[in-house]
Amino acid sequence: MNSMERVITSMSHKEPDRVPVFHLFSHYGAKELGISIKEYFSDPGYVVEAQLRMRKKYSNDCLYTFFYAPIEIEAYGGEVVFVEDGPPNSGEPFIKNIDQIVKINPPVIKDSKPLQRVLEATSTLKKSVGDEIPIIGVVMSPFSLPVMQIGFEKYLELMYFRKDEFNQLMSINEAFCVSWANAQLEAGATAICYFDPLASPTMIERPTYLETGHKIAQKTLNQIKGPTATHLASGIGLPIVDDIVATGSAVLGFSGKDDVKAIKERAAGKICLLGNLNGIEMASWDKEKTRIEVKDLIKKAGKGGGFILSDNHGDIPWQVSEDVLLEIAETVKESGHYPIKAEE
């Protein structure tokens, strides 16, 4: 089986040859090429080269065209702060007060250099790999993006007490999100990962989410012309599995803090799980610990397909050693073949 077949089989809740692995590498590619993170993201050619190299090296079952979350903030004219040893971070929120919201226009994709770089990386990768391996594009959900646009505190005020302005910002973000997702699909992305950590009950209580972010997700995902995955960026997912299913997403990125057995039961036959190794802890794992964690996860979540092994955040930290990543790949090859021995 090639990666595409493996992933599609698992997503159809059937057992492929082995558990598929998504190493979700964004800035980690700069480490592979031995250049600075800022330089790495300045040229889509670097991203293409690193993605292809890391696919081989770590037996990766996907290519990932995610640059960094605040690239969307850059497109809105906001600031991005680069560091030497981690993902680029958003600067001061560019919406200084709630009254400014009426004046905001969604970015035009063809006018945004950073977004064009992502599209170029996507189309070059597509030319290189065809349909052999899925190319995963990324968007921030309209509901989660405002944390970077206006700051978390003001955003909560907006969500709870300023419904009109909240709705206004949501429709601006929805328009952008849909066109950004569809542009990536047109460029060759196989599927879109919709990052929506605020959907997690870790962040917003479920009743509020159902009134807000959930409706927004249904509306937005409906307009995206390709398969979507919802990622909670390590926020817990168990209580909202069925809600995410109802948005039409085919995959759910779940948390290291979720009960694997329970979420597997709830998701069975309904939504494919993606996760849930703790990337932060991974930075201090050794090979032994890695094997234990990976084997345990496969045992609990692998059976019947509907599972892709990955980190729980959708972004491998710079501090994780190559040895650990290689060990993950090795362990999956050894212990991830179907049929999987059920847990004694």
Binding site: V83, G151, F152, L156, P201, I204, T208, A283, S284, Q319
Partner: protein
């Protein structure tokens, strides 16, 4: 004196979780009119906030509930401190800062919890470099420095803050918090912090424990994890 008898913790909790400012204020006023002490109000507040923080930790409550509850309690305590003719505590000298990241919500929550606990603390701001945090800590002669971070690289830089503080001769105790520390429960030790603040609502316990141990004169020293106590 703290009067724990008949404290309406459950009602207060419900009011906070429903962002019901009016009900919360009524409960405070009732206790005040009953001639009960300020410490009783403070106890009610801290006990309830801790329960809410723990509820978040268990996945039962959301972050927005933690945040809004903190704000409501802070507002109430600020109203009642003058009524009791007392002042916010400014010893030990406490400050809070976000190292490098522009993410102020964690800091805001911890700030509210400590204000609601009657502490006067300094907010150094966010997006600060290691040098800026150290400089401010030295200038303000801080005894307890609370550091919040969002990103892992920022969390790892706490080690540099501690190093520089010691080099400058400060013995300020450092309490850390934020997502990376919550996701790796040993990280606080790796960066040489004195305590891990977890979900923020127990931070007052850490400080009080240190105060009891006489750490306000010589705060730096024994490491401490609230979860182990």
């Amino acid at each position: 004196m703290v009067e724990k008898r008949n404290l309406p913790i459950d009602d207060f909790l419900t009011a906070l979780l429903h962002i019901d400012r009016i009900k919360a204020a009524e409960i405070f006023e009732h206790i005040y009119k009953d001639d009960r002490s300020f410490e009783t109000l403070e106890h009610l507040t801290m006990e309830t906030l801790e329960r809410i923080g723990d509820g978040w930790e268990d996945g039962q409550l959301s972050l927005s509930q933690v945040y809004m509850s903190g704000i409501i309690c802070e507002e109430l305590i600020e109203q009642y401190i003058p009524k009791y003719k007392i002042a916010f505590k400014n010893k030990p000298q406490i400050a809070i800062a976000v190292l490098l990241d522009n993410h102020a919500l964690g800091k805001r929550i911890v700030y509210s919890v400590l204000r609601a606990g009657g502490y006067d603390l300094i907010d150094f701001g966010q997006g600060l470099s290691v040098e800026e945090v150290v400089e401010k800590t030295m200038k303000e002669k801080i005894d307890i420095l609370l550091i919040s971070t969002l990103m892992l690289p920022s969390a790892l830089k706490v080690k540099k803050v501690v190093e520089s503080l010691r080099k400058e001769g400060s013995s300020a105790s450092v309490v850390v918090g934020g997502a990376p520390f919550r996701l790796d429960s040993n990280l606080w030790q790796k960066v040489n912090a004195d305590a891990d603040g977890k979900n923020g609502t127990h931070v007052k316990e850490i400080i009080e424990k240190w105060e009891k141990e006489g750490k306000n004169h010589e705060f730096h020293g024994a490491s401490h994890n609230i979860n182990e106590s």
